[in-house]
Amino acid sequence: MQELHDVVVCEYCDAIHQKTTLSTDECAYCQRCGSELEYFDEQPSRHLLPLSLAGIMIFIIANAFPILEMEIQGQSNKVTLLGSLMLLIADDASLVAVLVLITTVFSPFMHMLLISYVIYASKKHIQLPFVNAAIHILQAMVPWGMVEVFMLGILVAFIKLGNLATIIPGIALWAFIALSILITIIISYNPKNLWHINESHAY
């Protein structure tokens, strides 16, 4: 099979265009449907690896500590993410529990872990196994990561119960706020470009 280097294909309407060199902050749009064709070809930011590692640490805090605490008539109860998943399973809503687990725990964690792995391998110029598989999994994971939606969910739950009881924000609430900011920065890097940082050295 022959690879074509000098063309760009629109992923929304399949129009084929001659490639132009873009300079910083420029973006090419499809003439037929108006979709973005490509941005200035950025190298993965130097900050991506430290951001992901910081994200993993915050992720652990967000999952280990209570998100909210409710106090009512001298009694109190704390909720952690995993604790509420256990209750969902106990109440015959395992499907919901699995979905919440994938979207708020599994997907963001795997995203940060795999991106660190791939960038580490490319920076050190070493051959590590499963780099290809890691990028494939990473790309499949992107639409299912929903930390920022979960963040909004915490706020809605907070206000909903605020009228009935005293709600105290827990450590994990702050961790989730930090995590959703970090994840947004990490996800803004298009994982497609990960395929090309490895191009110079075969693995």
Partner: protein
């Protein structure tokens, strides 16, 4: 190809006119395929159908796009009925048991004066899934019945759908948190209802439906006309 500064995108509607659509060459007509995973562009040959760079399967169009999209969409409509009729959670206190549905949750916020929150939940849990399913049906029917009207707008609509679908998960997360938090023995406890299971299914199925839809099929029709 049009290059412009990202901060000043201009629009030009030359290709809204049907006669100009035919001037553009497509990758399909030239026997060129893009790898959906790594973005490499290949000239197709008969023997290989895997990307030489990342080993993903190569497809000129998403396989069985219409069939898969309709299947997910019909399943989503079926789940949409119990999702709205059955309670998403049941609150039991010492004295009574209160069942709340998606709409009753929104009404509760509205009545208790939390208007901004009522609007957010109304958009995320009611409007988004409904409009998403209707829009996907519209996109499927217009593509399947060879309609070339508003191709640019339809492509744009598809991009919006891809982006907003995830926000419907809001209510699922709220119920998960409330079930975990409101567990005060002898005072109040919340258990999830069957409605939230159906609602999660709606969100997942509509996401799968929009992932299996291929906007390029609509442009193919315009080209062949």
């Amino acid at each position: 190809m049009k290059v412009m500064r990202t901060d000043h995108p201009q629009t030009h509607d030359v290709y809204n006119r049907r006669d100009s659509v035919t001037h553009v060459q497509t990758a399909k007509s030239l026997g060129v395929v893009t790898c959906h995973a790594c973005g490499k562009i290949w000239r197709i040959n008969e023997r290989e159908n895997k990307c030489a760079h990342c080993h993903a399967d190569l497809h000129i169009r998403k396989p069985n796009s219409y069939q898969r999209c309709w299947a997910y969409l019909i399943a989503a409509w079926l789940m949409y009925i119990p999702a709205n009729l059955l309670p998403i959670m049941v609150t039991s206190t010492l004295f009574d048991e209160e069942k709340s549905t998606i709409l009753s949750g929104i009404i509760y916020f509205w009545v208790s004066g939390e208007w901004s929150l009522a609007i957010i939940v109304f958009i995320a849990s009611f409007l988004v899934p409904l409009l998403k399913m209707l829009s996907l049906m519209f996109l499927l029917i217009t593509s399947q019945y060879d309609c070339t009207w508003g191709l640019r707008q339809r492509t744009h609509l598809y991009k919006v759908l891809e982006f907003i679908g995830r926000w419907s998960m809001l209510d699922v997360f709220v119920v998960a948190l409330l079930v975990g938090l409101v567990q005060i023995p002898g005072y109040a406890s919340i258990v999830p209802g069957a409605g939230i299971i159906a609602f999660s299914a709606v969100v997942v199925l509509t996401m799968l439906a929009s992932m299996s839809f291929d906007p390029r099929l609509a442009w193919d029709i315009a080209e062949n006309k």
